[in-house]
């Protein structure tokens, strides 16, 4: 899932300082799972805003809505009837959802309430770890299912560097060395030959905005264009 963190309150408060009526919109998918921008977090943020603005003598009126996915126009459409009632929208979705919302309502300021952080996993309740940088050319088959782009601090394809420290990364004792883990896993699977070969320079495919159209839908896309 996409993991996000809510922005510090003061930063959000400053963004809406010129607005009197604001709609806070949560997203019911990734950011709800990682407890950053779901229905519950919308309620918490709105309460904070109301109290803070009341104390400032500059009261704010806040609305609340949470859609299934802000990265999908079909769900954003639910907001069409109410959007005009507000001076601005605070989106608690990831960066993709925020941008899609801003695209749907180009006349309304859409402001982010979260920092989108990474693609990761749910290690435990409230505990998330980054696993993928979306480089677009996956080498997990070679590296025993451990991503060197994400998990190695230097993103080495032919690691480990000289700084491995009893299985830890040189930057932090709490961070395991990705290449140490890759070695251990491949050794157990008798697949060390994978990393004895030189892994050639990566074909980075995340340097321009990417679009994917599944083959079955190319005609549909052509019709839109």
């Amino acid at each position: 899932m996409i993991v996000a963190e809510r922005k510090p309150f003061d930063e959000i408060k400053a963004m809406v300082s010129n607005y009197r009526k604001v709609l806070t919109v949560g997203c019911g998918t990734c950011v709800a799972v990682c407890l950053a921008g779901g229905e519950k977090e919308v309620g918490v943020l709105n309460s904070e805003l109301k109290i803070a603005r009341k104390i400032d003598g500059n009261p704010i009126e806040v609305g609340a809505a949470t859609v299934e996915r802000q990265c999908d126009m079909e769900f954003l459409a639910e907001l069409d009837p109410i959007i005009k009632d507000y001076d601005a929208v605070i989106s608690m979705a990831c960066g993709a959802g925020i941008q899609f919302m801003a695209e749907r309502y180009p006349e309304t300021p859409v402001l982010p309430a979260v920092d989108t952080t990474f693609i990761g996993v749910n290690r435990d309740v409230g505990w998330y770890e980054e696993k993928c940088r979306a480089c677009g050319s996956c080498v997990l088959g070679m590296t025993g299912g451990i991503c060197p782009v994400t998990m190695c601090a230097k993103g080495l394809f032919n690691g480990p560097c000289g700084g491995t420290n009893n299985g830890s990364c040189e930057i932090n004792d709490d961070q395991p060395c990705a290449w140490y883990m890759i070695y251990e896993r491949l050794a157990k699977q008798n697949r060390l030959e994978n990393i004895i070969q030189i892994c050639p320079a990566n074909d980075w495919r995340n340097q321009t905005p990417r679009t994917i159209v599944q083959p079955a839908y190319t005609d549909r896309k052509a019709a839109v264009n």
């Binding site: 230097k154 080495l156 032919n158 480990p160 560097c161 420290n165 140490y180 251990e184 030189i198 320079a201």
Partner: protein, 310 residues
């Protein structure tokens, strides 16, 4: 190393069968070129080549290329260091062309220390290529006359290509395999991380020799003098991937404070003596770390002078 290709002094020294000796110089954290020239005076005539570091420990300094050119003008033979941390493959190739254009013919390909160690921990960590891919790229520029993207280079550069190796990082078994990858990628010479654990280094060298790596590349053993007991303890406990055995720390600490530097140099000289006899070692790389002024004295004691002229 089939035939001299680069004009590198290190290549000539090795081709002639001499035991090579390289030094190191860190460029200034400003524009003080006089300081560089002053350091040069201690090294000139005493070393076969001098590595010029590339923003080591991720701290901003004068560029390696510019530093190397200053050395060249002083009559030294510089090795340009290049890390993968700060440039993408376009900038790297551009710098290699520029370096060759300025008369540099020897380079060392490195991953680079992580920015979190330096004075710009927030800097983007480029690593478009890793060090092994960088070696491959330079090899391709020279041997195939092609840029990494596939286009032809008009008048390709010639470089004697070096790489670093750390015999002590874990997992130990993987270290020789990684050295083999660097050799396969096209490294003409290797300079190792500072060595203090001689038995382990012997084991590493035996594994390297068993794989025949010493016949395909020239391995220079890295040494750094321990200047004090404090430094020995720091190297033993704080520097990732460094292996300083307890008895070495105790030996330096056992000397009276004013004699510790002397003891460190004595140990280094013993190491050099021992390294000369280890199969597969083609030379020594001395990283004096801001102790350039001591280099002549160290070399004298280690019986590495005079340097051969080839």
């Amino acid at each position: 190393m089939d035939e001299p290709k680069s004009g590198s002094n290190l290549e000539k020294i090795l081709e002639a069968g001499h035991f090579a000796f390289t030094g190191e110089l860190g460029p200034p954290r400003g524009t003080n070129v006089e300081a560089v020239r002053k350091k040069c005076a201690f090294l000139k005539g005493n070393v076969d080549m001098v590595n010029v570091t590339d923003n080591q420990t991720a701290v901003v300094r004068m560029s390696s290329i510019a530093g190397a050119k200053l050395l060249l003008d002083e009559g030294l033979e510089p090795v340009m260091q290049m890390t993968c941390r700060d440039r993408n493959r376009i900038a790297m190739q551009s710098d290699i062309l520029g370096a060759y254009g300025l008369g540099l013919n020897t380079m060392l390909c490195l991953s680079g220390d992580h920015p979190s160690f330096g004075d710009h921990p927030m800097a983007a960590n480029v690593h478009d290529l890793d060090s092994i891919q960088l070696i491959q790229m330079v090899r391709g520029m020279m041997d195939d006359g092609k840029f990494q993207g596939g286009a032809d280079i008009k008048r390709p550069p010639k470089m004697f290509i070096g790489a670093a190796a750390n015999p002590f990082g874990d997992p130990f078994e993987l270290r020789v395999l990684r050295l083999a990858k660097k050799v396969a990628a096209g490294a003409d010479f290797i300079q190792t991380q500072c060595i203090y654990n001689m038995p382990k280094f012997r084991e590493y060298m035996k594994m390297s020799v068993d794989m025949g790596l010493h016949e395909k590349t020239a391995i220079l053993a890295g040494v750094t003098p321990l200047k004090s007991a404090g430094m020995a303890k720091y190297m033993a406990t704080k520097v990732p991937g460094m292996d300083v055995p307890d008895e070495i720390v105790k030996r330096i600490a056992g000397a009276p404070k004013e004699k510790q530097a002397e003891e460190g140099i004595k140990f280094l000289c013993e190491q050099v003596e021992e390294m000369r006899e280890i199969e597969g070692i083609a030379g020594i790389h001395l990283m004096a770390i801001e102790w350039e002024h001591k280099v002549p004295e160290i070399l004298e004691q280690a019986k590495l002078l005079p340097r051969p002229q080839v």
